[in-house]
Symmetry: C2
Amino acid sequence: MGEITIRQLAETLKLSTATVSKALQNSHEISEATKGRVFELAKSLNYRPNPFARGLRRHKSNTIAVILPEIADNFFAQAINGIEEMARQQGYHLIIYLSHDSSEREAFFINDLLGRYVDGLLISVSFDGIDFTHLDEIQGKLPTVFFDRTYSGSLLHVTNNDFESAYQATKHLFECGCRQISFLSILQGLEVGNQRLQGYLSALQDCGLMLNPSLIINCSNNKDDNQAKLQHLMKVIKPDGIVSSVEKLAKLCYYTCNDLGITIPGDVKIVSFSNLDSASLLNPSLTTITQPAYEIGKQAATMLFKVLKNNNYEAENMVLRSELIKRQSTNVSVV
Amino acid sequence: MGEITIRQLAETLKLSTATVSKALQNSHEISEATKGRVFELAKSLNYRPNPFARGLRRHKSNTIAVILPEIADNFFAQAINGIEEMARQQGYHLIIYLSHDSSEREAFFINDLLGRYVDGLLISVSFDGIDFTHLDEIQGKLPTVFFDRTYSGSLLHVTNNDFESAYQATKHLFECGCRQISFLSILQGLEVGNQRLQGYLSALQDCGLMLNPSLIINCSNNKDDNQAKLQHLMKVIKPDGIVSSVEKLAKLCYYTCNDLGITIPGDVKIVSFSNLDSASLLNPSLTTITQPAYEIGKQAATMLFKVLKNNNYEAENMVLRSELIKRQSTNVSVV
DNA sequence: CTGTTAGCGCGTTCAA
DNA sequence: TTGAACGCGCTAACAG
């Protein structure tokens, strides 16, 4: 029936509910003999403790929440995979919220979470955030690990070597002969966006290239807006190389180049942060900085479970390495 | 603090907990004046009802579960988007489980769910299932809507016109001049797999083509295995057209053709069921049967909420239409 | 319209 | 080693 309670077990076994409860928790106060009887009956009746009653007593749900900007993005989808894997291993459930890059929604979800429904939170911050008070607030009240998209106030986080990756990508373009290298920026208010931009700037300097501000395109989440900016970039500024800080902007570049009859990598070479698994099937195949998304999710979850277990809140930062995979969009022929 | 209880509200307002509880639920038994006072205080203290206590009383969690084979697949990612949208609108939470196409895991999750933790379930059945008893079981005990991957015993489901789509795709290849059309089959035990196969077979017949059994490739979830089968297909059987019943097999075709120096669409034309949003950027761009994934998720969730609201279990089937988008992989030049 | 009481199922006293 | 009693916070039944 799935409706068996501790009381019922107790009655059929001629024991008190307290004894059964302790036995089920494998308490040392209970004799092996009774434990055996209890376990056996519980198993045979497929007893499942009522999670509400348990939560009410223990203030614990064995559930963690994940707040993501979006899910139809390979990075996040893979990250969830990693998170889910760990959660399952630890016997935790996973509640998912999609902020769609709205910090308003994010704040709404977080308020919800503060209703002590979940034991912990994994979050990749929404992009349009300027006001981080809800994030500041929750960190004090709920164990929270930030991954990929952290913010300046985050204590526990798992990130990438974004500075270095952007640096490498830019340098790679330079080595491929590019001298007018554009940077498609987004996530400007967040650490990850800033790191990538800084990496780009630093590489320009080391390559002895002058910074041309009009080569830095500040994109938003408005597709039409981005498209217009890219059109202008390609038609007027005409860079010979592009570093895209996000997958969807790279796709937009492809479309824009197609429209304008600009060839890749002939006229312009492109590198992008991306976890697209069909990157090598694109026309031309796309040179990517690929993040270890699954691993990031896994490590973030691991960090959270460690905190949940030890109840200690020491700030911790784990940095995983992304990989530059050279393909035809930067004129590197691949096997 | 997020720790305010109804009792505390009652004490400061000199009311009983029952009155406060009713007031918060906007019961008509309570005067507008008191309601006002209660709401005001509740809001100012940011009162949040304890979900455990509430669940314990009401046997309801305002949470639904989603069981999916995988998430790093555009179809499922988009479907979740649709589901999440509805859930949020209805004030429901979303718990996610990934079966990784293992019916064993699926059964484990379902057993978990039977612990009456969630109010309803949306599921897309795992592929390797032969034993559906856990699915039969849960339908009787928990409102369940199946989407895309249903099984023969499912009562409530949202699916596509798979037969027709596969038929159209096959006919499209025929009209492009293909006479040796191969079908990459998977999900054989499920309705969706069967429908697609039948559509293919029916089209062959209507086109006056003889059925050559060696053109039907039964794939599995083992990538190496599939690769070997495709290699054999392309080298020995040499079809001039392929209908792929799943996105990842189409990708594998692309890789295999690249390896073997077989050109698409010159030597072989390809159509695939796929929600890949970069299908048009592939080399060559891929002709797809694209499912309304977001809408499927949304409708499935809607159906579930309707059942939750009305408590009625009449079998219902909703069929949404997929779209055949012709591109270069079947030699159709696109703008 | 408001209050009293009881109990959802569990885990934790404290006493036996 | 076991059991009786209580309370987590909320809501439903019944009084007043």
